[in-house]
Subunit: 198 residues, 2 copies
Amino acid sequence: MARIQTHNNSSRKELILSKAAALFREKGFKAASMRHLAESVGVEAASLYNHIKSKTELLHELCFGVANRFMQKMDEVEAAKIPDIEKIEDLIRFHIYQMIHHYEEVYVCDREWKYLADPYLSNFQNQRRMYRKRFAAIIESGIRNNSIKPIDAPTAVLILLHAIGGIESWHRSTQKIDADALTQNMVTILGGGLKPAS
Amino acid sequence: MARIQTHNNSSRKELILSKAAALFREKGFKAASMRHLAESVGVEAASLYNHIKSKTELLHELCFGVANRFMQKMDEVEAAKIPDIEKIEDLIRFHIYQMIHHYEEVYVCDREWKYLADPYLSNFQNQRRMYRKRFAAIIESGIRNNSIKPIDAPTAVLILLHAIGGIESWHRSTQKIDADALTQNMVTILGGGLKPAS
DNA sequence: TTTATTCGCTAACATTCGTTAGTATATTAC
DNA sequence: GTAATATACTAACGAATGTTAGCGAATAAA
């Protein structure tokens, strides 16, 4: 019937993407149907295909959009001339920030990537593995110069990343503390577990 | 055609349950079909219904089986006469043990519970909320007697539980350290983040 | 104003889904 | 041996899925 946005506004697809992120997060990728998505966009299901190629394409774009942001941050942090422990806290803060301010996409990227189709799936898994390796390398560097407790670095990375993923629960919580306080608490607990007893 | 187990062996359903856990974990509840499950049991899809009521019933039983084990452990820990910090480490070790030795069910309980049908869904969410409250209460008690750093207890619980959920990645890892070392590392990092600077 | 393009719609498609009905066979109980 | 029960099978159902085809109206370009 009526077009919702003017023609020259190319952000129609971006609206679909953001609605898709919310829907995939709420229902899960498999349980979210194109008809649901269409409804939340305010359009019939078939009309979506004037803007997108397929349901999976939506997942591709969401996942790699998020992944690229994290990779870019990792580049910056690696290049920075600051102590290792600060690099880690910087990364933790970035993760938390992303989780809070781009909740839906980050969550989808975190929990629904396994439904990616295969050229993309392997690519994504490689990027993920690489990211964790680079994170672990920073921790190992910190261990060598005694600014970090001697622990198994891959295990530490695993703990950090999943702990941050838990903000999901905070996000849904009714009586939530404010974002800054949350960040500070997480850095205290997670960072505190890394620093050697002084 | 041929029955796979003898009649008086009542564990046919348990086989289905354990195959379901593995399948739900691998594919996700929605993406796992009864025909896939049947294949992995070695039977036609319709035959499953001689043993189970529905697909959702499988999820119920998996989720509440796990949830009940954790609730029972919490009862024990609360009743024990040991310092708060030891209670917490005890719980952490229990979580890790469960995650390692009952991986598939625990994972499914953790990540797929949202597909429970509604009398069960609310029930499950309540139990979950209650469990976290009781966990947080132990932390708060520890804070009051100065054996734990003054932090936001609900946030700490959230971090702990999700960090442990990350063992999922360890489980899939090719070059994994052994389970005891993993446990020790996690207790060091997570416990270390809680103890006050001395 | 005419022409081309964008973007909505309805209708329909082939698959896949969970599940039921009805039947046959093998085991157990008597 | 006979009756009863447990459990496997084949066939089929209605519903929901992602997606395509084709059409009409609105916008942009000429």
